[in-house]
């Protein structure tokens, strides 16, 4: 009795939702059990019959939230990929330009004529020595 009183007092369902009590054996009933009033029974049946719908709505909600999260991740990855592609293109373009300009700069320099420089140096030295020899002997 005390238990049923407690359950009635602390039941989450309001009085409008229905009432119930426990029945003992031979207490105006063929067996011991639980007695629900019509609103309580209607609530139990209504909640049970709509449980699938409630579950479906919750599943759709959770799936939508998860899908939105994954879509966000995909879009962020796509943005990162696009940015990296643009960076790569930019770097390659700039490096190509830099290489081209450096090549032009190298081409403006005199070509590598070591042999001619060597021969010219020797010839100039010989000519200078001979010239000096002739000048000092005169």
């Amino acid at each position: 009795m005390f238990l049923s009183l407690l359950m009635l007092l602390f039941s989450p369902a309001s009085a409008d939702e229905g009432k119930f009590t426990f029945l003992g054996q031979q207490q105006c009933a063929p067996f011991e059990g639980v007695l629900f009033d019509p609103p309580a029974l209607a609530t139990i049946l209504a909640r049970q019959s709509t449980a699938n719908l409630a579950c479906q709505a919750r599943i759709e909600y959770e799936l939508s939230v998860e899908a939105a999260g994954y879509d966000l991740e995909i879009q962020e990855l796509q943005i990162s990929l696009n940015a990296l592609r643009e960076e790569s293109t930019l770097m390659i373009t700039q490096k190509d330009l830099e290489i081209q300009q450096l090549q032009e700069s190298i081409l403006r320099q005199s070509s590598d004529n070591r042999l001619w420089w060597y021969v010219g140096g020797v010839a100039t030295g010989v000519a200078a020595s001979y010239g000096a020899y002739r000048l000092f002997n005169e």
Binding site: P38, L41, A46, S49, V65, D71, E87, L90
Partner: protein, 127 residues
């Protein structure tokens, strides 16, 4: 007369003149090489500046795109939340309607209610 004086001067100071000419040649070559190095440095500097400007632009566009995507995500979440609350309201209305139906059924057609409880839970009815 002048040419003879110049020639004598050259003969007398040929080493110094040669040294000066060689020094001028070396200085000229060094300045040319320096200019080429400076040119290479400027090319590299310009390239790096262009890269930095390009990267800044790319990053700004990336940040803007990320912000836009995030805003769209938040809007979508709000929409999902709103749709869910609407579905919950509709569900509650359905529960209320069915409660009324079951309440009416209890007083008007208990037999069908018994059948429904039996089919729903598999309980045996004891009259």
């Amino acid at each position: 007369m002048t040419a003879k004086i110049v020639l004598q001067f050259v003969i007398k100071n040929w080493k110094s003149i040669l040294m000066v000419l060689l020094s001028l040649g070396i200085i000229g070559k060094m300045r040319y090489d320096y200019k080429q190095l400076q040119r290479a440095y400027e090319v590299t500097e310009d390239s790096l500046k262009a890269q930095i400007d390009g990267l800044k632009d790319i990053h700004q566009r990336e940040i803007a795109a990320r912000e836009e995507t995030l805003n769209e995500y938040h809007d979508l979440l709000k929409q999902i939340e709103s749709d869910y609350l609407e579905s919950q309201d509709a569900l509650q209305e359905l529960i209320d309607r069915r409660r009324e139906d079951y309440g009416r059924q209890f007083s008007e057609d208990p037999t069908s209610l018994v059948d429904e409880i039996q089919s729903m839970y598999g309980f045996d009815y004891v009259p």
